[in-house]
Symmetry: C2
Subunit: 341 residues, 2 copies
DNA sequence: CAAAATACTTTACGCGCGCTAAATTATAAC
DNA sequence: GTTATAATTTAGCGCGCGTAAAGTATTTTG
């Protein structure tokens, strides 16, 4: 490794004994040059460690190799995992993903889109905040940049969407809980962040009614992304009021369930399926932390793998201008039985 | 808002009636132009929504406004929070932060540094993986790019470091636990990911010995970042073996404690300070989830705020070439008393 | 072995903006 | 109103690379 630093492609081309346009071609696609020239370039590359200036490259290419990955709340390990998965797939495909979190804030979400425009990304993978998202801003962005939405849908936007079949989630776990004990009540936030919550509630009601039973929905106050804390406070109140008609609670998502478990603990309700337990609690999502609650949380697992894979593939399709007829793909969940229910 | 799209600064300058160099100056620093010209530019900006091409800008500036924020494991909410905090501060200072996670993988960490070189960032804020980091690669990077390390130190690297006074953490909580009950045993991973763990163990030993007592360190097997799972498995084994000499366990960090709480649950040990409790468990870090365990976790809170603020400030100093004599700043922790101990 | 096909080289321009020096205003100070 | 000062304009080069056209070398084909 020579320490003589190479300034630009011109110099590097001279050193490797190949013309600059050919070297440029090589960096764009190594297989596009003859094997013998490729070898010469790669030999020079070993000795001199040169890399094209990314700014000069992107200035001249119509399309950059950048991909934006936008999630609503990165401090939620659920989104961190989804983002990580998608990120790796983009890298493997030769793109440069960049991660953004709206931190639960709609104006931050809009700012992210603005700053993404400047980056002229090839495409964007976006899990919107949901209800609080600036629909118009997102719609306009999607019209300008190939975008695939995931996790949370913005209805009727005409943008490709990959997510979970939330109604099926509810059906699955209502079925299980009803088979193994009392049918569940449903715990949710009164003003949930995204439309998934509504679909889960509807799925719950339908599933319970299909069993000829009466649904019981408990909606608690509180907005924003401090979901565990909202569930802890609201859950304790609901317990004190005797709001739960049965000894089984299905929470709209795992973070709510985690908070509700604390509420139960603080209300001296033993949770689980043991003899001493007085209440069963379950969630939905298979949040990374759900297996480390006490007791470990019974839940419905999102198909992380399939969602991220299909989202990325749909994006690559959109980037290449392929109109996918299947504009909306939903994946089923799997029941994860643990000790809480 | 006219829809006529502006191609470049030349065109925008013509529309706003100001010369291009002045417009350029404005974008570099709005206050560097006369108020009256600033108004004219901003008026044109309202009508036409033009933004300088970021690639052309960065190609010509010696120094970009990019800042890299590198953390070892973004799916850990602790790092997500630290990153978020630092990110916001960078934005407020007019920089463009980009978030990277090594996902617990040393080779990914090196790749991040490589790709950061290409971005020619003004500076980098890095929480290294720790023990598994490629020291040589990090050292070389730090020599080339202004870098501030935080959370986890790479000793004797001569790079500014902002972190916590881990020995003080241990002292604080050993003191508390010993005052209110039996002195704690110390639970840790045999091969911890970063040097903080060692300092905490040393602090624990010193604190216990200062009380004239015998330290008991329990080191469990397992490597990597699945810390809760490691603690669950290893903790259960240790419990079964009767490895804990006292009825009080101090875990090296909150994630270990969260896993250990599950081990206790599964071993039918009631945790807490109530009459029925047989063991007290505490952690260190004040992990975002530590308040939602059952029982809520007693811990020592890292000073997120101070760490991120000082790290960012130290970085800004380094960017401006200011040699800070105080090359290493440690912050004290605060005792957070909850129901687990 | 000649012709055709492919790969490469040379030349040259363009991308959008940073930056500078000199000339020309506009503003502030007296 | 004159000066000193600050702000702006004019003019033009340079950054590093993409890309196109035309010519030359190499490989493939028959």
């Amino acid at each position: 490794m020579s320490d003589a630093k190479i300034k630009n492609m011109e110099e590097f081309a001279a050193i490797s004994g190949i013309s600059r346009p050919t070297v440029s071609k090589y960096f764009h696609d190594p297989d596009s040059v003859r094997a013998s020239t490729r070898e010469r370039i790669e030999k020079a590359l070993q000795d001199h460690d040169y890399r094209p200036n990314i700014y000069a490259v992107n200035q001249n290419r119509k399309l950059t190799k950048n991909i934006g990955i936008v999630v609503p709340y990165l401090a939620d390990p659920f989104f961190a995992e989804l983002a990580r998965n998608a990120e790796q797939r983009c890298i493997d495909a030769g793109f440069r993903p960049t991660l953004y979190s709206a931190h639960g804030n709609p104006s931050v979400e809009v700012e992210i889109l603005e700053s993404l425009r400047v980056l002229k990304p090839a495409g964007v993978l976006m899990a919107p905040l949901g209800r609080s998202s600036d629909r118009a801003a997102v719609e306009k962005f999607c019209a300008d940049v190939p975008t695939v939405l995931f996790d949370s849908e913005l209805p009727d936007l005409g943008v490709p969407y990959i997510g979970s079949d939330n109604a099926q989630f509810a059906l699955l776990i209502v079925d299980y809980l009803s088979r193994t004990g009392e049918p569940p009540c449903f715990l949710e936030m009164k003003y949930p962040a995204n439309p998934n919550a509504n679909k889960r509630r509807q799925g719950y009601i339908k599933a319970v009614e299909a069993l000829g039973l009466t649904p019981h929905v408990v909606s608690i106050e509180g907005e924003g992304w401090s979901i565990e804390e909202i569930a802890r406070i609201g859950g304790a109140k609901a317990i004190a009021k005797g709001a739960f008609a049965t000894r089984s609670v299905l929470c709209s998502n795992d973070r709510l369930a985690i908070g509700f478990l604390v509420a139960c603990y603080e209300s001296n309700l033993t949770v689980g399926i043991g003899d001493d337990a007085v209440i069963r609690v379950s969630g939905m999502d298979d949040h990374p932390f759900s297996r480390f609650t006490c007791p470990p949380l019974t839940t419905v697992a999102q198909d992380y793998e399939s969602i991220s894979r299909h989202a990325v593939e749909a994006l690559f399709g959109a980037i290449e201008g392929i109109e996918n007829p299947q504009n909306r793909i939903l994946f089923e969940g799997k029941l994860i039985m643990r000790q809480s229910a």
